[in-house]
Symmetry: D3
Subunit: 244 residues, 6 copies
């Protein structure tokens, strides 16, 4: 009889939390998705506008960018608003940039034409993995915004060259695990966020030793878990998008 260390929520080590992807959550935005990774809830809204930033005008190329933020009451203990503090923190900047880069990895700017799509990812409730949920949901909102532009006849071709999804992995109590909730995240010795295309290639790998440095074997185990998680998420994205 074995003595398996169970995760607090009873999941297997390579199992995602319950994922829900609710499209068309808002009425105004060209695409909008409420994405949930367990108790983590992120509202992803894609606003599409004609025109591009000044430095890109006349190039015939489009632009995709993202902004991430957390509502003050999304966390366990209320956090101050960045608008009230008058400055955006380093973590916010870092995640906004990561989301933008991840989505741009599957965008063909020429096919997008001189249109700009802004992805707003606002965390309504945070329980670990907000940035990976944001990327996963934002891709779906982006796909909807692209359909919206296509319906308007504003595109020069297919601007999406693939899909992207993201998941966190980490080593907790010596065990590699997929999709960490907050409770595991704070205890992780190593923590990695992996963004992959629907075809199983890497867009971004960000691994950080929180405690001791990690070795190559641990790195390989985490990459394997992430690959499995991203494949699962890719399937869920496809299912969501195939619903009308």
């Amino acid at each position: 009889m074995t003595d398996v260390p169970l995760r607090a929520d009873g999941r297997a080590d390579d199992e995602l939390r319950p994922i829900t992807i609710t499209r068309h959550w808002l009425d105004h935005a060209a695409g909008s998705v409420l994405v949930e990774f367990g108790r983590t809830k992120v509202l992803c809204a894609a606003s599409a506008n004609e025109g591009v930033p000044r430095w890109r005008k006349g190039s015939g190329l489009g632009w995709v960018t993202a902004e991430y933020a957390m509502l003050p009451a999304s966390t366990n203990t209320r956090s101050d608003r960045e608008s009230v503090k008058g400055r955006i923190g380093g973590r916010t900047h870092e995640i906004s940039r990561l989301i933008g880069r991840s989505l741009r990895a599957v965008v063909d700017y020429r096919a997008l034409g001189e249109n700009t799509i802004v992805l707003d990812c606002d965390v309504l409730q945070a329980d670990g993995g907000t940035r990976t949920a944001a990327i996963t949901g934002a891709y779906v909102a982006l796909a909807d915004a692209v359909s919206h532009l296509r319906a308007q006849g504003a595109l020069a071709g297919e601007p999406l060259t693939g899909s992207v999804a993201a998941v966190s992995v980490g080593i907790i109590d010596g065990l590699p695990r997929l999709d960490l909730p907050y409770e595991e995240d704070v205890r992780a010795e190593t923590d990695m966020n992996v963004v992959m295309t629907g075809e199983g290639t890497y867009v971004e790998v960000q691994g950080t030793a929180e405690g001791a440095a990690f070795d190559r074997a641990e790195l390989d185990a985490l990459l394997g878990l992430a690959e499995k998680g991203c494949a699962d998420l890719t399937r869920l994205q496809r299912d969501a998008l195939s619903d009308g």
Copy 2:
């Protein structure tokens, strides 16, 4: 046979939009409400903490304050984030202050004891009346936060001396109307926000001539409509709070 000018959504002039008040929308906050006035959706979260701001320490008195904000994609056309602009706009300041004042009108600071409750009212979708929806929902979140503090044995008595609700009224095409959606709001000649207690007394009256100045008869008609609307909202708040 008369030729009644119908509202675009078919409502009577003294009729509220469909109102929903969903409590416990978030897991962390002491109280949280998703309030909807038609397509306007505001997430109201009440965070309760021991302690008060420095200027109030040792007084034995509590404090209640509010912060209002709009998500960038909540509006028809995406608006820039105030955190990105590095400053809070005048409208945001004004509404945050209004919400705080309105709630404080029904708070007994001594019974609250040295606790602080912050009401975050984040507009997820805007279709007119966001400030009045925010006040109406924030009251319910506040009531839940008070229950939460009571359950923790943190109160010295009953901190709520009554309830508050708010509604917008305006004159559109010469007709006084209740609870204006965006489409009516922009056309209103006169626009008034009224905050009332559950007992029918006034907490705040803010009337503004958008076009021509208004006369006393018009003012009286608007006050009458607002009284009706606030009474309806008070009933809906009570119903919501009586559901466990």
Copy 3:
């Protein structure tokens, strides 16, 4: 023999403080007024410039806006400068917006043509009622700036469709009173600022319960007092403007 509760300065409940309106206080501005409501002193300067903000260019319409601020030593206890703090407070924003809205209520943008008038209302000394003094004085400065533009042949017609004046009213010790100095303002149970045209119609009504909520009878009493005060101020504005 009755026992009338006297106001500290001996005024009747429906009596304004001594009001002075000194025109041409500055040499550069198109219009400038030092307005005094008792010990409250506000310097109102109207700067007129050709051209309008970008969003209005080519429309043929003018623009009128206002900025309110208090000198640090204007208050009982020195307040920090907003320029030093690096941000404008909510109250300042709110009052600047109110002044701008109030003046725009009597402006015909088409007759103004593509000119912009900025009203700077700087409180040199504060003793209650600074926003109402600012509106009352700013109207006179605006009228002088309009004359200045007319003398330059820059107008397409008469841009002023009327006059505006403003006054505060409140309930102190249960009694409705007109034009509150600081000492009464802090004690007021209900506090209302009313902006009216010279013809006696309402431009803005802002009533706030500072303590207990107020009822309809109280609201009516305050509106009556305000109407009387605004009529008196309108007369004083006319007198000032008729002096060359």
Copy 4:
């Protein structure tokens, strides 16, 4: 018959503009002066408070500091508010620091005790020489604030070791001149601000070549003029302070 180049206002080259020093211009501040150098008007308010900044606590020493600012409409063409821009410009910083340093040159911190005096110098109208007018007026406001503290029994001795006054000098069309109005200031080849004590010693000398560099003879001529101007201002300060 000679052909003397006259100054636009008819003054002799070593003559001050008409100077007025009006004390007690405000009701709240411990000292307040409206100082006028011709059309330049600066309101100097001295606020006195118990206590000193944190870095000086417990030292037994007082502190004197100054803040300078210009109202938007004080200049020929309206300037934007620094509070609106969200940052204080270099010129403002520079002049605030100069005023503070100049006043501190005649302050005995030990005699002042742990009290802080803040001098707010707000330019109501600018016509050249605003910084020198500010220093000259601020000294008088400071002297009044010191009397105010003495009357309260808050002083440990005489905190003022002398007086300070300041004047601008410059070379215009090759001629050294005293107390430059704006019209001369912009044309000056060399521009110097000199702060001197009532005893005729130098506190600050700031000379700048606006066009060509200047030689030692020109420097000496300017220093001579400044000495004369500061002596005149010292006399006017004394007269003002001897009036009750």
Copy 5:
């Protein structure tokens, strides 16, 4: 005879640029290093102070943090100062956080005691790899600051549990290469920064697909190169530190 695609500077694909580590470059700081990776020059200064941030007081634990910045003229085209813009950009935040995390991976806070070491990494000249040069140099400056604290008897043990070094790797024209100068960096299809301990374990892995996503074989090749580069840098750090 093969036709090897040469790097512009003639290096082998797995070869570092010329590296120099100059210690004691400044007189005041507890440790200071000018580190050069080819033409990239970063000044790393370690300031050591008694005491820790407020949230850590009384814990007996020390703190290590880092700030990264670029001088305006360090880049090909002058960049604006972040102090002038009034806000720190996302990239700056991100790199400052990375440097701090990397160094903290080899710090024993308990042995450091309640001391804080701040690593300022200022890029004097940028030619690719500024963040990896900064980490590599900052470690040496940190080691010197620790010696400085030890000499003062301020330590409770050995606060450094190892060393850290960092290097960039990337795929250019299909070839994995080590230590990219700017010219290669902008052309890289995939770009990875790797931070490793002197013992060959990973502290941070940050890989980004700049063009097409990368596959596992490419990832493995890059990790191999980085391991080699970090081992070389570790040797150079040891050499530098062994020079008295």
Copy 6:
């Protein structure tokens, strides 16, 4: 045998610290100089760009401006970054403006044509006299940037009408001294910065009484010392520039 009060570093009272001027310290900038006045080290970089600020477009005139800053670890005790504080301090503003004015005194804008040269003066190590070292070094960097523009055929003539150098002087223990290191600077009773052209005329004279006010004889002594120091610096600048 006399008892001469020696300076801590053994210099005569009218002797400069060891001065080094290293040109071409950076690879990208049009001109770059590391200037050292004893232990004070300032990196002066001149960036030259076609075009001028908007307010000068089409005038045919060029522009020269400067920005001064100190690295956090340049001082004895680490100072906070102005970028982190989000605002530039008064001293920084003041010195940036002084450097810009000083250089512009020897610039012929017409000959410069519509080009802008920005001088970045970053203090790497501070030991008194940073602003005078910055001006002295920036002039050399400016001269190199002008040669760079000339080589590109971008000039309409000779934009430099002369040279500028700057030095600090002060009275320490009653003795006038040249080129004060930090240790003397903090003890100086009077402190003066003098900027002169290579021809011995004055561009800027800024004298400040730190303790007691100073008299004319002291002022004259300081001006004499400064003249000697600036002449020595002018010679060193010429020598540096004559080295190819």
